[in-house]
């Protein structure tokens, strides 16, 4: 019988160059993907390097103490004597982002429970796209709406000028709602259905099932979403700057002007000359932001490890 293996590609001589070809092809492909990955690593290292090179200058060259930067209450880099207390900004950043998470987290959980347990069809076709749309709205638009709607509303409803931590937190809570909801929904969807059915089979109500079975098992994932939300809120700049007031002090109430790390950077970066101490102090704040990113990523990792277990 005529073996088909030899009727078209006959000569073994032909095989040699072909083999070269697929090896070369593979090598080119590998080279390319390694290049892409390496580029990412180069990017991240250069970001850390360049920001640190500016941000560390005040501590190294100008003798500003780290302690003052982290715990000082007074920010007056061009004053005499200059003061570099960034605690009010740290406070503002933490306060707004945590408060935003406190507002958004329960809403996000409820929305995801609604989408997975109560009305999955309606949730999937309407609520989920709606929430994803919230994520797509640009932050300047949020700032614009915050300044035009939330600030006047707060001003009329509560004592104070309307701007402040609460205004910032409200704007941010809408912005981070999608992050929290999406991750929570994914976690709830990926639950083995046997778990739920077992609970229902024992005669538990839906709420009992949700509160005793579903929420505890998905808690680490839910927290991951919250932490990612906080991270996003922490780094948001323009929307917050428009509604928070930007006074470099720790406010006495939620309705008093305050500042975040990001808003002080956007506010002052353009007004300072590069290389000046004031400018470098702002880079130090950027460095703090950068380090906080690492902290958030670390926390998320710890939480994810718990999910896997």
């Amino acid at each position: 019988m005529n073996l088909p293996a030899t009727d078209i590609r006959t000569a073994p001589a032909e095989k040699a160059p072909k083999r070269q070809r697929h090896i070369a092809e593979e090598f080119r492909g590998k080279f390319y993907v390694y290049f892409c990955v390496l580029l990412m690593i180069v990017i991240i290292f250069s970001i850390v390097y360049f920001i640190a090179s500016r941000g560390l200058a005040p501590f190294i060259a100008n003798g500003v103490s780290v302690k003052e930067m982290l715990f000082g209450l007074k920010w007056n880099p061009e004053g005499d004597p200059a003061a570099f207390g960034a605690l009010p900004f740290l406070f503002g950043s933490f306060a707004t982002s945590l408060l935003a998470a406190v507002i958004a987290a329960p809403l996000g959980f409820c929305a995801s429970v609604f989408m997975t347990e109560i009305m999955p069809k309606f949730g999937k076709t309407l609520l989920q796209p709606a929430i994803e749309l919230l994520a797509g709205i640009p932050s300047v638009v949020y700032g614009f709406v915050g300044l035009s709607v939330i600030v006047p509303f707060l001003r009329d409803t509560f004592p104070g000028q309307g701007i402040g931590i609460l205004a910032g937190a409200l704007v941010l809570s809408v912005m981070i709602l999608p992050t929290i909801t999406t991750i929570a929904t994914d976690a709830l969807r990926s639950l083995p259905s046997g778990l739920k059915e077992g609970s229902y089979a024992l005669g538990a109500t839906r709420w009992q099932t949700i509160s005793r079975i579903i929420l505890p098992t998905t808690l680490p994932s839910l927290l991951t979403g919250v932490v990612l939300g906080i991270a996003r809120a922490f780094g948001e700049a323009l929307a917050v700057q428009m509604v928070i007031g930007n006074a470099p002090h720790i406010p006495h109430s939620l309705f008093e002007s305050a500042t975040t790390l990001t808003s002080i950077i956007t506010l002052e970066m353009g007004n300072t000359t590069s290389g000046s101490l004031h400018n470098n102090a702002l880079w130090s704040l950027a460095l703090i932001l950068l380090l906080m990113t690492f902290v958030f990523v670390f926390v998320v990792r710890v939480l994810e490890r718990r999910v896997k277990r």
């Binding site: 009305m119 614009f144 709602l177 932001l289 990523v297």
Partner: protein, 295 residues
């Protein structure tokens, strides 16, 4: 009995929250669109902005936003695909891979302002690209890249293993199998995801303030030579995008109709994002159908 009452209350609270979220979104969209849409007409979308007179448009800004998006995607997609392919197909289970995964994660959670400052320091000043579209696109690449990498990785991982094995079993190199067999399968979800990511690029402002700049040269829309400084296609010219323009006229607008322009521009931006969202879903579906089902 009591458990049932609690259940009923909890259920209504949850439904209430869902309704609340829908209401917030509706109010938000309503507010933006009602205030903005009546300012949108052909003239508004195509004419140049006016510094102190009424009747300015957002033509160049709209063009800049779209062009910047295209530039960013041109840079991001090949790099993101490459790194995503590495993560899903070439990465071995070792510390290096863990480290790269960490890099992607950190890179994706950098605040946009930090990336903008980095862009100012390195791309604008050190590499001397100036405030330009290219600088802006490079800065946006920094955000978009990790998104693209994850997207590619997840989409490729979702490709059934048999597809890959089928390619390999035909005696193809791994690279060929990935690019010709697996990528087409993963394409619909990659496309959908990257259009959604593109919507986010469209609205980014903080990073662009420091990299793409806050003004445009007087563009000459009859000159399409990318080397001319006033040509719309010149990637080395400064460019104010729509999102940056909203920020600028909100803060510094001198024109008497600045609030209307801001409202109109916000509405345009939101409509664009909406289009991106719907477009992504639609396109992904069409692509999927085209690649799988019969015609």
């Amino acid at each position: 009995m009591r458990a049932k009452t609690v259940d009923r209350i909890a259920t209504s609270v949850i439904i209430g929250v869902a309704v609340l979220i829908m209401a917030v979104l509706a109010a938000l969209l309503g507010f933006l669109l009602v205030r903005g849409v009546r300012h949108i007409d052909f003239h508004f979308l195509t004419s140049f902005p006016q510094a102190i007179k009424t009747g300015g448009g957002i033509g160049p800004q709209l063009f800049n936003s779209l062009f910047l998006l295209v530039l960013t995607m041109i840079i991001t997609i090949p790099l993101g695909l490459g790194a995503g392919i590495y993560m899903s197909e070439y990465a071995k289970q070792n510390r290096l891979t863990d480290f790269i995964r960490l890099v992607v994660e950190v890179l994706s959670s950098f605040p946009s302002i930090v990336v903008g400052l980095f862009g100012l320091l390195v791309i604008v000043n050190t590499f001397n690209l100036g405030y330009s579209l290219l600088s802006g696109a490079l800065a946006l690449t920094v955000f978009n890249l990790p998104m693209m990498v994850r997207l590619t990785e997840q989409s490729l991982r979702a490709v059934p293993r048999e597809q890959k094995e089928a390619g390999l079993a035909l005696g193809m190199s791994k690279w060929k199998t990935i690019t010709s067999v697996m990528l087409p399968v993963a394409l619909p979800s990659i496309v959908t995801g990257s259009i959604l990511a593109a919507g986010r690029v469209f609205g980014e402002a903080a990073a662009l303030l420091f990299t793409a700049g806050m003004s445009s040269p007087r563009l000459d829309f009859t000159d399409w030579n990318p080397l001319h400084p006033t040509s719309p296609l010149n990637p080395l010219r400064p460019a104010e995008t729509l999102a940056v323009h909203i920020w600028k006229i909100n803060s510094e607008g001198l024109a008497p109709d600045a609030p209307e322009i801001a409202a109109g521009a916000s509405a345009v931006l939101v409509i664009m994002v909406l289009l991106f969202n719907l477009g992504a879903r639609w396109f992904g579906r069409v692509l999927y159908r085209k690649l799988t089902a019969s015609k």
